[in-house]
Amino acid sequence: MLRIHKAPMLAGALLILFFPWIARQLPTISHYPDLMVFAGIYTLITLGLSLLMGYAGQISLGHAAFFGIGAYVSGVLSTQFDCNPWLGMLLGAAVAAMVAVIVGAPSLKLRGHYLAMATLAFGIIVNIVFREEARWTGGPDGMIGIPGLSLFGLALDSAEKYYYLVWGIVAAVFLFSVNLIQSPAGRALRAIHASEAAAAAMGIPIARYKVIVFAYSAVLGSLAGSLYAHYMNFINPATFDLFFSIKLVIMIALGGMHSIWGALVGAIIVAFLSLEWLHYFEEFEVVVYGAILLLVTIFMPEGLVGAPAKLMARMRR
């Protein structure tokens, strides 16, 4: 288990703080803050998934659903009910948590492939709802005119302003997760991953912890969805489909599932791959992701974050 040190966290915080300024100096990457907004949104989801999958060992192939729930609850409330976007965001998170508890309580009793199948099906069902409930969601065409966010009267109308909002939230969630991992609750999650029988024998209420961490990851997914909707001002169901759920898994697999840092690294890399570097491949993008997942699983099961330590250990031998 990788330890979480304060020094890299501080370095990361400084980098985030000055990145927009750096990007402004270099014309070739001047649009990167915009990409980093998406990277931050993805990171919010993967931070939850990393706790759920990497630490607690529960697979989910349906997290695009929670991303979508946040986006659509925010979208529908703010366009059709004139609801304050921040309130919409909170309500979206509440809905996601509720859905997670209802879906999670029975399905988290399943293990391995069965849990994967259950969450996969859940993701597909939710996506169908987005497509079919056209009266609310606009159907396959999606919905337009979702208002932007403003904070204390300041409209967050540029990529740079939104960048600071998103990464501020990411930083807070990251800190929360780091604290959690290094606490009794975090150890309980890892215990469940290692041996449910032994965890129960130590008095850890397994079912409760699984549902809580599932709901936590759902809330983060939903917050990410709301941030996405208010940034894009437009959403459609294709964004929240099965492929995005798989992409999320690729993110944490590539970054490294067993460390919270992996969630960060994986989300940023995949965001840049899908929004910038892989345009050249067009439809064959999927093939590249498949290749990445395959190579990582075979050669870097610990992901990019775990790879250096592993390489060092091998060199020493």
């Binding site: 009794p184 890892r190 965890a199 024998a201 130590m202 008095g203 912890y209």
Partner: protein, 265 residues
């Protein structure tokens, strides 16, 4: 039978039946564990010993029968409830948390005795941070007791089997149990390691903790047990002191008939 006359039993099992479909793993078992003693359950492979442990610790509910712990019925309770009442256990196939260090394994064993809130932890409440410091000290004291203090930062799966078994016992002790159920603590261990395990079990008894022991190592059983119950094909065929068991013809037949040339004396 000896069991009924025990004063102050910590665990009483009455007419316990466990059937898996058509297979009856345990038939009308009566068993009594006296407080503060080491009680062993022996028997050939498949006799139902581990099944008995799994029922006591709540892994599955019994088909019939009653289990009382400190006079309170616990049959059918969930494992984490039973752990909270004061029964802890180890596993035949060592079930350590391999994704944690030695120290973290023992700290996780303290889960029941500390406060752990998901959101409080995430917000790093000062009270929880103080608790974490105390927790490390408690876990270190336990590691001293079991003799693994020097290995605190090693990953659990990097330990040799003998130490893994010892660590699992230490983790069970971390729950502050009144009764520990040890499922074959000497299985796969060499002579020195077995001796170390036997010493540890006796030290646990001296702390006032009751031990229920399943084991195949007859020398160890005879050396450290206060009482022995013998299971064969899901039935209890004998119960008594080590000396009584050694001379019981039914027991000798069960072992000789099964393994051939097995000398329990």
């Amino acid at each position: 039978m000896a069991a009924e006359s025990v004063q102050d039993p910590i665990l009483e099992i009455e007419e316990l039946v466990m059937a898996f479909g058509g297979l009856t793993a345990l038939m009308n078992i009566d068993l009594c564990v006296p407080r503060g003693r080491i009680k062993a359950v022996i028997g050939p492979n498949g006799a139902g010993k581990t099944t008995l442990f799994n029922i006591i610790t709540g892994v599955f509910p019994p088909t019939e029968g009653l289990i009382r712990f400190n006079g309170r019925a616990i049959s059918g309770c969930k494992p984490h409830h039973i752990a909270a009442l004061g029964i802890s256990r180890t596993f035949q196939t060592v079930e350590l948390f391999n994704n944690m260090t030695v120290l973290e394994n023992v700290m996780t064993g303290r889960h029941l005795r500390i406060r752990s809130s998901f959101f409080g932890s995430g917000l790093a409440l000062p009270s929880l941070r103080r608790q974490e410091k105390g927790l490390v000290e408690q876990a270190m004291a336990l590691l001293e007791f079991i003799g693994l203090a020097a290995k605190r930062d090693i990953m659990a799966d990097a330990l040799p089997l003998g130490e893994r078994k010892i660590l699992e016992i230490g983790r069970a002790l971390a729950t502050d149990p009144q009764l520990v159920c040890l499922d074959e603590p000497a299985a796969g261990l060499n002579e020195t390691e077995t001796e170390a395990a036997a010493h540890l079990i006796q030290a646990i008894r001296q702390k006032g903790i009751t031990v229920l022991l399943v084991e195949h190592d007859m020398k160890m059983i005879m050396d450290i047990s206060d009482e022995i119950a013998v299971l064969n094909y899901g039935e209890k065929i004998a119960e008594g002191t080590p000396r009584e068991i050694q001379n019981n013809p039914l027991v000798i037949e069960a072992y000789l008939g099964q393994g051939g040339g097995f000398d329990i004396r």
